[in-house]
Symmetry: C2
Subunit: 233 residues, 2 copies
């Protein structure tokens, strides 16, 4: 029996939320550390210390198995590691489970790419500058994102069997975030993609207890941000 601890920023859902959804769906307990000085320590490169891969950023998952303990970062790597342990590795009749697991990783990566593109809309120049410093560029990026990229990504959906996987959880969270950040663009998309609406309702049901709990973090100032000027009616 493993013990899990998630290290992530306080308040924002961000990339940590994808990991939280996995534990919530599996009803597996985990602890969380949001203390910023601890996070900074974990993401400071430990020069010359082999065997400890450097962590570029949170989320970081700490896994304790008896006397063994290790840390893992990068959201797709964390989700892929957890998937079989939490029963979220997907299932396809007659298909080698290793192949299914790789395909689930593929779909999770695509969902996370979508989230990164949504983020880059409001930070087209770079993450070191505030939105207000790159607003003109963001207006242009948002136009391209709404007209080209949202419809393209929207064709990715729950396609691997009927068992909820980490890829489904990623897609669900991205769709929730996009509805928050680009409500008008997503509303326009809804009529041509009814399967996405059904998918959101199914996953909302599966995750209801968590989504209605105080642990669920509201979208605010992270990956998905709502700037009305970036999503005109």
């Amino acid at each position: 029996m493993s013990r899990y601890c998630l290290y992530y920023w306080p308040q924002i859902p961000g990339r940590g939320e994808f990991v939280r959804l996995a534990f919530a769906r599996a009803k597996v307990a985990f602890s969380e550390v949001n203390d910023i000085s601890t996070l900074q320590q974990l993401t400071s490169p430990q020069e010359g210390k082999t065997g400890v891969p450097p962590h570029l950023a949170v989320p970081i998952l700490e896994v304790q198995n008896g006397a063994n303990r290790f840390y893992l970062s990068q959201t797709p790597a964390i989700l892929h590691y957890l998937a079989p342990k939490l029963g979220l590795d997907g299932e396809q009749p007659g298909v080698d489970p290793e192949v299914t697991r790789s395909q689930v990783l593929q779909l999770a990566l695509t969902g996370l790419d979508w989230a990164v593109e949504a983020h880059d809309v409001h930070h087209p120049i770079g993450v070191m500058l505030y939105y207000e410093e790159q607003k003109d560029e963001a207006l242009r990026a948002a136009q391209a994102f709404r007209s080209e990229r949202i419809p393209k990504f929207a064709k990715t959906c729950r396609l691997l069997g009927t068992k909820t996987s980490i890829a489904d959880l990623v897609l669900f969270q991205v769709l929730e975030g996009l509805h928050f950040a680009f409500p008008h663009a997503m509303e326009k998309l809804a009529s041509s993609t009814p399967q996405l609406g059904q998918f959101r309702r199914e996953l909302s049901d599966e995750l209801r207890a968590y989504l209605e709990s105080p642990e669920r973090r509201a979208f605010n100032d992270g990956l998905f941000r709502h700037y009305p000027e970036l999503d005109p009616p």
Copy 2:
């Protein structure tokens, strides 16, 4: 014995090169298809066809095991699937191989993030516009990338044991690409990071036969691009 086929754009090294390096390092044969109409067909969503995950983009790997055949996209998923089959899954004394494999995936993802950031420097507004249409923004993005992001990413290096893994191959290709795109910035970095220079020499030796072959694709117009104005002396 599996048969492998890589589907990728013609000419550019791009993300396909990470997969090519894995086969080259393992000395395992594979075929490659660069025909654009075939690529477009593979990345066109097949609506309603369950069991076939949609592919957002190439590279796509086709794997044939006897009568079974499947397709896998997303570079990290392809590399992670191939790693144990090609002996590129890394090795750490006394560490559970599954943990090592997850940590190798983590490092590969970080290297690929670096490549994406290098790409976004010359396309800060979006991939649908030409560089020339977003050059002012690119100048600002390049300044931030050179001063903040290159030094931060450079602290990620070959830290897991001594066996070459997919993460090492990713880091090698990214460093080669950065030396092509940002020669001055990388030169400035060299004195403070001698281990990166040694790493590049080691990997160049391991991959020499391939790097000197006509199959090796030169950097030109893909992820890594050299615009002198984005890398002043």
